[in-house]
Symmetry: C2
Subunit: 342 residues, 2 copies
DNA sequence: GTGAAAGCGCTAACAC
DNA sequence: GTGTTAGCGCTTTCAC
């Protein structure tokens, strides 16, 4: 990395002159125009990029905010990140939590390991990770992160946790289908490069619940090597496949809101009456499910509450680093609508 | 701020001992158990939070990534941030752009000014700002940011720009309605605390286009002091209001995708035939519009392309800081569907 | 086991 | 106008 000293040497001036010019305060130090140009040119030529770390350290009167790394995989629910930032903005401006600075560390599901250097180097005051794939959980279990770390979903003993009770969601849905006298049920879920543990937990709960209730349950999903332009299309294709096979169950639990919109479009388009022919429950939080005809019973994916809880826990941890790992389970309310009455 | 020296003094040991203990390497320096405990306790008691800036500066072998501030208002399109991070992850892992570190600076529309200290202090290697309100534009015009700065939407001479041609979108839609022989048109838009300039530009284009074509155009929007649980509900209420007034236009241009879903639910529920009774064009990128019955003609809000362009521009700027401001206009393709044929 | 001291790259007060 | 120098708070080597 080229520093202001390199430039100073190259141009034949002192480092402070370079500093003044490159941080836009040349006038303040009354550096001559010619020297300014020489310095600017050299900086450009040599590919100088200021080291903000050093700059910040020397800037005395700047507020020093704790830096939190927010590991983020775009395969999360597409609205979640926006919700998270919204809640953060809200809580901070209302003085509910201390100010913090969030840096996004993007990763793909299953490739969290690539962030290992940043995570293990004590580079941040805190870390937030929503590890959704088994592989990432495995990596985290075997990694020694020494700064306060909050997991979403992935229950790993040494770290703090904010999650929902995915397994119970599955069994409760199975229970509802059972009470309604359903004999057969389907479980529809999106394909992904890496099976999400949250989906897997709900799946396990649902299948176990069905088994106990004597409901004949089967999974509907696409091969992971197929690709779709979006979740709507995937839902349509999965639904079409079910119709082709001509073995519609009396109830279906769809694990993803947008997927559900696609699937429902096909079911309704083929004259399947919901809930008479088939009851539908969806996990997610897409507002469209509310105005869908018929309106759709959902288990709410509580992104707002998860965000709030996560931010709260992180803010508390900063002040007591050695604290015992906390476990916070966020509620997932059922919202009963036409597609599956209570 | 309490430093390791404060702790060292309080406990009566050297700063290096404190450093070892607090960064989890006490064993490496063979610090006695008692001293470790004393140091830990003092740190907790005194509310010590490590200064990551200093830590990073002294860590020699860490990769130094340019730090980019991403100013973000949650009032942006809810999927945009996720898309942005997804594209970033993609471009970086494919080696299309250099590695960068993104820090999120949350703000509310109209309150960008509160970020002024962070923006003007040369605290970041680059800054990205999507200023959507007039007030924030005004603030930026009068602010001297010295680091490479990319604006989305807000055209301000001294900064770089990535945007779409909002005005033309408005006029083109008016032109389509005109070609179809519409005599009257409505323009529906979401209420917001701060009128978004992008919405305002499309509005201006549309109204001017209507005026030139002799279309009688009127705006439908809610009072900014009303609040809604979500955009769907807002759309439903706006549509209901139009039905009450019993003056349906022959075409409507809806400025927001989710708002449109709510409004369309009401229109269709009241037997309004689309496009026969009323043509509909929507600006946005919600996938549901594609499977809506009838499917909805949209002008695509190209969040992916905007993100890609923005990241590209920023990466280029880092290497040539003094460059002339660039202007990149991203295409906004029309997708014609049933609600308004070409 | 422990502490002194050098250095990370930069800013800014100050001397010239 | 320009250069010297003392920090910013931390890590890490090395001497004791």
């Amino acid at each position: 990395m080229v520093s202001i000293y390199d430039i100073a040497k190259a141009v034949g001036v002192s480092a402070s002159a370079v500093s003044y010019v490159l941080s836009g305060r040349a006038d303040k130090a009354r550096i001559s125009k010619e020297k300014q140009k020489l310095i600017m040119d050299a900086a450009n030529r040599m590919g100088y990029i200021p080291n903000m770390t050093a700059r910040k350290l020397s800037l005395r009167n700047m507020p020093r905010l704790p830096e939190i790394a927010l590991c983020w995989s775009p395969e999360q629910h597409p609205m979640f990140l926006n919700t998270f930032i919204g809640i953060l903005q809200d809580m901070t401006s209302n003085g509910l939590v201390r100010q913090m600075q969030f840096t996004i560390l993007p990763y793909r599901n299953g490739e969290l390991e690539k962030l290992a250097p940043a995570l293990t180097a004590n580079y941040y005051n805190g870390i937030i990770i929503p590890p959704v794939s088994e592989q990432d959980i495995e990596f985290l279990k075997n990694t020694d992160i020494k700064v306060p770390t909050v997991m979403l979903y992935g229950d790993i003993p040494q770290y703090h946790l904010v999650t929902v009770d995915n397994y119970s969601i599955g069994t409760e849905i199975a229970g509802i289908f059972h009470r309604h006298g359903c004999r057969s049920a389907a479980l529809m879920q999106p394909a992904s490069r890496q099976m999400s543990i949250t989906v897997a937990q709900r799946t396990a709960g649902f299948l176990e619940g069905c088994r106990k209730s004597g409901i004949d349950a089967r999974e509907v999903t696409s091969l992971s090597n197929e690709t779709y332009t979006n979740k709507i299309e995937e839902g349509r294709i999965l639904a079409a496949k079910m119709l082709e096979e001509n073995t519609l169950p009396s109830a279906i639990y769809i694990q993803h809101d947008t997927l559900a919109l696609g699937a429902l479009a096909v079911f309704c388009g083929h004259g399947i009456r919901i809930p008479e022919d088939m009851e539908v429950i969806v996990y997610g939080n897409n507002e469209s499910l509310e105005i869908h005809k018929p309106s759709v019973t959902t288990v709410q994916y509580p992104t707002q509450e998860i965000s709030r809880e996560c931010i709260t826990v992180m803010a508390e941890l900063l002040d007591k680093p050695g604290a015992e790992p906390v476990r916070r389970i966020v509620e997932t309310p059922f919202v009963f609508r036409e597609s599956c009455p209570p």
